[in-house]
Each structure stands twice: as C-alpha cells, then as structure tokens.
C-alpha cells in the first residue's frame, strides 16, 4: 500500500496493468477466445440489449429488416432476370431463324417431358388451335427432334427420335454420293441408320431427312455417322450408329413445321430450312448443288466445305 501512496504509484499501476495485458495477450488463442466470449456475454449482454433497444428506437432495426427484404427480393429478381436473359437469347435466335425461312413454322416451348435416361417424348404448348396436326415434324435450330403423335386443343405430344417406335426416311450425304435409308432408335438408346447392304458410308458423313414418306421434308439435319455397326440382320442391311445433332436434354424451345401439302403426299424438298441456297444438302467439295450462291449465309454448312470443285 505504501507503494501506491508513493510518487511512483502511477508508474507501478501502469506497469502492472501493462503486464496484465501482456499476460492476457500471451494466453493460448482458445483461452483468449473463451475469456473474451465470457466477458462479452457477462459484461456486454446488458449493453447489447440496450444497443438493440436504441437501435430499434433509432429505426436501425427496421431499416435493417427492410434492407434484408430488399436484398432477398433483389436476389430473386436477379435469378429471374438471368433466366429471362437466356430465354430471350433462345427466342431471339428462333425468331431470326423463323423469319429467314420460306416455310410455315410454329414456335413452341417444351412444357413437359419424360425423365428417363434419354427422353423419348415431349409435350409442347401448341395444338389444334395453332394449326398443328398429327405427324408434323418438330425441329430446333440445329435439326430434327421428332414428330407430333397426339394433338390436343392447345398442347401436343412429340415422339422424339430416341423413341423405340420412331423412324424417319433419311439420306446420307457422303463425300461424292448420296445413300438412302431409314433412321430408327435402337433398344440400347443409340440412333441407327439402316442402309442397303452395298451402301458406302464414312464416319462424319451427314445424315438428313430424305423427304420421302410424307412426314419430313427433305434436308432437315438428323446427325452424322459415328461408326459402323456389325450387320445384325443376317447380312441384309448395313447399319451405322448416328451421332444426333440435337441434344434432347437441352431442348427448351422448338418449331413445328406446318404441312404445306396434303397428308399422304410427299413433302419432297419444299422447305430447304437448313441449307439455304442449295437444292439439296451439299456434299463435301460440292458446288453444283448451289442454286443461289450470293445468298449463302456466312455460318451455313457450306462455309466448312472445300473450295468449289466442279462436277
């Protein structure tokens, strides 16, 4: 006590407190944390209560709640905007595609689908009211996805190319030749092209609809030859596995091609949707199929062809 009454008492007190601070600072972190939390709870709890009351009094609590609500709303809006942006992009591309075509296209959205490993049917949001009928092709910007098999007033069911009962008359566009056959879905989920036995095909050859059969107009892309398959029909047919151009898992919007000829009548090559300027899908190195050279779009399939080499 005498020490505290001396002239050095301030120094002694300061040194003691500084030493106490250093001891606290030197404690293990967990211990420091425990002490700080205990002090926080015991000493500051009443102050925290007072802070809440005052905060509420000053309107801070209300403002906090309002801002949190606004933040949630903004986050939701941002998510919705992102979805709309993607939808807008897809629809803009579709609109541009539709306006460029000399055929009657009905835009539609996929509103339901089966959720197997690979979808085999879609439900779309157009029906009789929109002029849709059974057996009309359904396509995307990339190519064929299927055909309508059941049409309601304002919705229709689409049988996809992956459906076991689907088939389409197809044409293989080889390097210097055309082959005609049928595209079907195999039981194992592959899409196959059945060709006459002596047909020629190479991996990468394009496969499009042939226009025969009265359902699909000529020239809609289906896919490309991925590999040949061993003959499973007693050597009577050549079978190729097809790599489809349309990924069914990502299709959200599509078009129905409205029929321009009577049912049962061959649709031929009337709507050359995917090969503008060509009489039929171009073959590698081909120039003679070009009907209107000046109208070739920059990104058409022709752009990746070899330079013109006359017939």
């Amino acid at each position: 006590m005498a020490l505290f009454r001396s002239a050095w008492r301030a120094e002694v007190m300061a040194a003691t407190l500084a030493a106490a601070s250093l001891v606290l600072l030197a404690l293990p972190e967990a211990r420091q944390d425990a002490i700080a939390r205990a002090a926080n709870h015991v000493v500051l709890l009443p102050l925290a209560g007072a802070r809440d009351v005052m905060g509420g009094y000053l309107g801070l609590r209300e403002e906090n709640r309002r801002l949190r609500t606004q933040l949630q709303a903004a986050r939701l809006e941002l998510g919705a905007t992102e979805g709309l942006r993607i939808q807008n992009r897809d629809l803009s591309r579709m609109l541009e595609f539709r306006e460029d075509q000399p055929v009657d296209l009905v835009p539609t959205r996929v509103i339901d689908r089966d959720f197997g490993t690979l979808p085999t049917t879609f439900v779309i949001d157009v029906g009789r009211e929109d002029g849709v009928q059974i057996d009309q092709p359904v396509v995307t910007l990339e190519g064929l996805i299927g055909k309508t098999v059941d049409v309601g007033r304002s919705a229709s069911e689409v049988m996809l190319y992956s459906h076991p009962e689907f088939s389409a008359s197809a044409m293989l566009v080889g390097g210097d030749h055309l082959e005609y056959g049928v595209v079907r879905a195999a039981p194992d989920g592959d899409v196959e092209l059945y060709l006459p036995l002596r047909s020629r095909s190479e991996p990468g050859d394009r496969i499009v609809t042939s226009g025969y059969g009265g359902t699909f107009p000529r020239g809609i892309p289906i896919g490309a030859v991925e590999r040949g398959r061993e003959d499973q029909r007693l050597g009577l047919q050549k079978i190729d596995v097809v790599r489809p151009v349309v990924d069914l898992g990502s299709v959200g919007v599509a078009f129905v091609l409205r029929r321009l000829v009577d049912p049962g009548e061959s649709v031929g090559d009337v709507p050359r949707l995917y090969w503008p300027g060509y009489a039929y899908p171009p073959m590698a190195g081909e120039a003679f199929g070009l009907a209107v050279p000046d109208s070739l779009p920059a990104d058409s399939a022709a752009s990746d062809l070899a330079p013109a080499a006359g017939p």
């Binding site: 008492r9 301030a10 120094e11 007190m13 300061a14 407190l17 500084a18 106490a20 601070s21 250093l22 001891v23 606290l24 600072l25 030197a26 404690l27 420091q32 944390d33 002490i35 700080a36 939390r37 002090a39 926080n40 000493v43 500051l44 102050l47 802070r51 005052m54 905060g55």
Partner: protein
C-alpha cells in the same frame, strides 16, 4: 512559470455530470456509431477519445486504469488478440496522463495533437500485431486507414469537446 500555473485542463474543470455524459456518449459511440460512421475502413475511435480525455482529467494513474478498462472493453467487442487494446490504451492513458501532469497546456491544439498522436500509436501497435508479419497488409492499412482514422478520431473528439465539454 511553474507547471501548475499552466492552467487546469478544461476536461478537469468539467462537472462530474458532464464528464459522465462524455463517458456515456463515448461508450454509445463505440457500440453503435463506429460501424455506421466508417468511411473506407476508417472510423472514429470513441474509446480512445474517452481514454485520452479521461487521462487528461485524471492524470497518469487514472489514465492507465481507464486505458486498461477501455482497452478490455474494446478487446471484448473485437474478440481477437484479447489484451492488445488493453496494453496499448494502458500505455497511452499513462503517457497522456503523465504529459498532462508535467507539460500540459490548456489549448485545443494540444488536445488535437494528443488524440491524433495516440490514435497513430495505437494503430501501429494493433495493425502490426494483427498483420501477423504480413507487412504488405500492414503498410496498406497503416498508410491509408491509420491517418484517416486519426483525423476522423480527432474531429470526433473535438466535436465532443465542443458539444459535451462546452469547450
């Protein structure tokens, strides 16, 4: 002229009630206002204002005690490096109190210098320890946050002296 004739500090001439109001305002400021008043990472340090003014009022002994208590209060709020602010503010409380007892001139400029200098010293200590050897981070924070915080703290302290202390 003896040191005693240099004048009693204004904060020592304050009534106890006024000083209690000053303490209350500083505690409320530390709890409620430092966050909302933050500008670019810098905010006024109300606990430091309290310790400096308290040390000017009470001298080295009272200043070191007030610094220790105020530092623990700050450490309890921050929940990190428990004891660091207690150490810094104890030293500051003692030094400011010692200056008041020996050299103090009752002039607003002196209070301003004490506040600014104390804040810089405290920030050197706190940022130095908090950076944990990452001197790049220390430099970035010290050369931007510390001067602005010192200026901010000085302005807040001068305002409090004007409003509460009647200086």
């Amino acid at each position: 002229m003896s040191l005693a004739t240099r004048g009693t500090p204004w904060v020592a001439r304050m009534s106890r009630r006024r000083f209690a109001v000053l303490v209350l305002v500083c505690v409320i400021g530390a709890l409620l206002l430092e966050g909302p008043l933050e500008i670019g990472g810098a905010s006024p340090d109300f606990i430091l204002i309290l310790v400096v003014y308290g040390a000017i009022r009470a001298g080295a002994f009272g200043g070191s005690v007030l610094g220790f208590v105020g530092g623990l209060f700050r450490d309890t709020l921050l929940l990190m490096h428990f004891g660091l602010h207690a150490l810094g503010l104890t030293v500051i409380g003692y030094v400011v109190g010692k200056l008041r007892e020996s050299l103090y001139l009752d002039a607003p400029a002196i209070d301003t210098l004490l506040l600014a200098g104390s804040k810089m010293v405290l920030d050197v200590l706190v940022l130095g320890v908090a950076s944990g050897g990452a001197w790049k981070a220390f430099e970035m924070r010290f050369f931007w946050e510390a001067p602005v915080s010192a200026l901010y703290t000085t302005l807040a302290g001068a305002l409090l002296a004007r409003l509460v202390g009647g200086r």
